[in-house]
């Protein structure tokens, strides 16, 4: 499908229609950004500011939300706090203002690290296995190739809870419950279908003649794959990797059902952040902000490949 970049002649939209279209789209874009801006603003509000009515747009920014996100605190008497030595960090200072002292680190950092390990581990495996399989499907006559490819895709149609029931039992037998390895294997399996479909599309686009020329020059098939196909497929592999990474990073259902302690990732953890008297919204917003920033960066990097990724390569533009 080619994008119509050819010059519009009689069919070019008029200036007025462009202006009207632009205004509507920009207004829509700005409205959809409000929740995201609000997440960030809440993350730098103090707890009282965050729940004031009417909602505050002008306020004194504070790092309290971020401090609360990373620490656990205990309440102390003012006398006890007055007797303490000078605060050594900003977090010490804001915590003491609320008549509390920092008791230790919270679980956020380990959960965040789990997210990183599981997302990167499963992405690496899925892309590795996916690249090999995609090359196999792209270049060789595989018996029942269409059926196999459809089978690979159909594994994505299962509701995650339906998959989670037997996985839960299987992992219990194998000792993989609540382990990073178990989650990496599970996310790899889910992502490998996406990786195969996307990468097959990318590899299909690399002319076979390149490898054939290399093989005439004396390369073996494997050498041609490594030295000719892989370098050509770098963009596709990178885009696929980012899609796998985003899936694993954002995943909630499996993580919530199959992890509870040591292997828990950030998505099931963030909603459980509570302070005194209910949800600590600035801390939740701080965790959400930290969690979302990498995705924002990736979205901008990926914008040209997004369409392909979200349609399993069905629409290539």
């Amino acid at each position: 499908m080619s994008s119509a970049n050819t010059a519009h002649s009689v069919v070019a939209p008029s200036d007025t229609s462009k202006r009207v279209a632009g205004t509507i789209v920009i207004v829509y874009a700005l409205i959809t950004l409000i929740p995201l801006v609000w997440i960030f603003l809440t993350s730098i509000k103090s707890p009282p500011d965050s729940i004031s009515y009417p909602p505050k747009i002008v306020f004194t920014p504070t790092l309290e939300g971020y401090c609360n996100l990373f620490t656990t605190r205990t309440r102390q008497t003012p006398d006890y706090i007055a007797a303490l030595p000078e605060p050594t960090s900003t977090c010490d200072e804001v915590t003491r203002k609320r008549n509390m002292v920092i008791a230790g680190p919270s679980n956020f950092l380990p959960r965040f690290v789990n997210s990183l390990v599981i997302a990167f581990g499963s992405t690496f495996l899925a892309v590795f296995l996916g690249t090999l399989a995609a090359y196999g499907f792209s270049r060789f006559k595989v018996p029942l190739a269409d059926d196999l490819l459809f089978f690979i895709l159909s594994t994505r149609m299962m509701p995650p809870i339906a998959v989670a029931i037997p996985i839960y039992l299987m992992y219990r037998e194998l000792g993989l419950s609540d382990t990073a390895l178990g989650m990496i294997l599970l996310y790899t399996a889910v992502n490998v279908s996406l990786a195969v479909w996307l990468l097959k599309g990318f590899i299909d686009e690399i002319p076979r003649e390149y490898e054939e020329a290399a093989m005439i020059d004396g390369y073996t098939r494997l050498q041609a794959f490594r030295k000719v196909v892989l370098p050509q497929a770098t963009t596709g592999i990178a885009a696929t990797a980012i899609f796998c990474l985003i899936f694993a990073w954002n995943e909630y259902a499996f993580a919530a059902l199959l992890t509870s302690g040591q292997a828990q990732t950030a998505p099931p953890f963030i909603p459980t952040i509570i302070g005194e008297g209910g949800q600590d919204w600035p801390a939740v917003a701080a965790g959400t902000t930290i969690f979302l920033v990498p995705i924002l960066v990736f979205t901008i990097l990926l914008r040209k490949q997004l369409l392909r990724g979200i349609t399993f390569g069905a629409v290539r533009k």
Binding site: P54, I165, L292
Partner: protein
Amino acid sequence: MATPAPIARRVRGLSDRAIAWAFIAPAITLLLAINIFPLLWAIYLSFTNYRANRPNAVVEGVGLRNYQRVLTDPDIWQAMQTTAHFVFWTIVLQTVIGFALAYLIDRKFRGHAFWTTIILIPMMLSPAVVGNFWRFLYEPQIGLFAYAASMVTGIPTSEIRMLGDVSLAPWAIIIVDTWMWTPYVMLICLAGLRSIPDYIYEAAEVDRASSWRQFWSITVPMALPFIMLAVLFRGIENFKMFDMVTLLTGGGPGSVTEVASITLKRAAFESWATGRASAFAIILFVAVFGLANIYVKALNKVKQR
């Protein structure tokens, strides 16, 4: 293109057939181990009275009783209806707004590429983490959404209980889903609009077809396969909807937002009726699979026109 001597190649390295299998086998093995084996296990369990919280109890075959119970359970039919309601309204809203946005972006106003990227951001984010934050936006007294809604409608904020009100809660979820996934439909529709060659419009212009006429007899039919593809992907995803509902309402108030995934989760991980939950899971899978297959056939017909 002359093929190089296959004999020489075979002597120098592995045969192509061996390489093909060596390349494909690991991925297939993983899928067999983590997707197919569990699926078969679930099928087996669905014919038993197994309970995951009593691993040492005697497991007995119960024939089709689990399926019979699932299919005659009014709660499950209620959950299926709730799911259908969500799927229907999210798809209608996302398709209408998404197509309209794509149509406007296709006017190629200045800066359209930048604003397209901005609009795409919500769909890349974690539905669970962002959905959780929407709970705050929906708070009746302090939430930004309730505040804005009360400014527009004049209803006091304390009465805009988006998540606590039986009639509002389903819409609270539909709004977040639409906010998040309209860009997805928009992006696919945009590809559809851009695939329509200019000369068709030029020919219509020569024939003096009105722009209204051009829209309905060129733009819509030619973008239709793309719209249908977007609907397929959204339909499958929303049929499985779990994250957002769990975090926003948990199925409540009462059970007005209890979609199939939530019922399934309760049966499997709260009642521990593993056998019955497996039967329900298989029924859901067959339903999605069957519907998707019928739909794809229809889609291919539209494409061939």
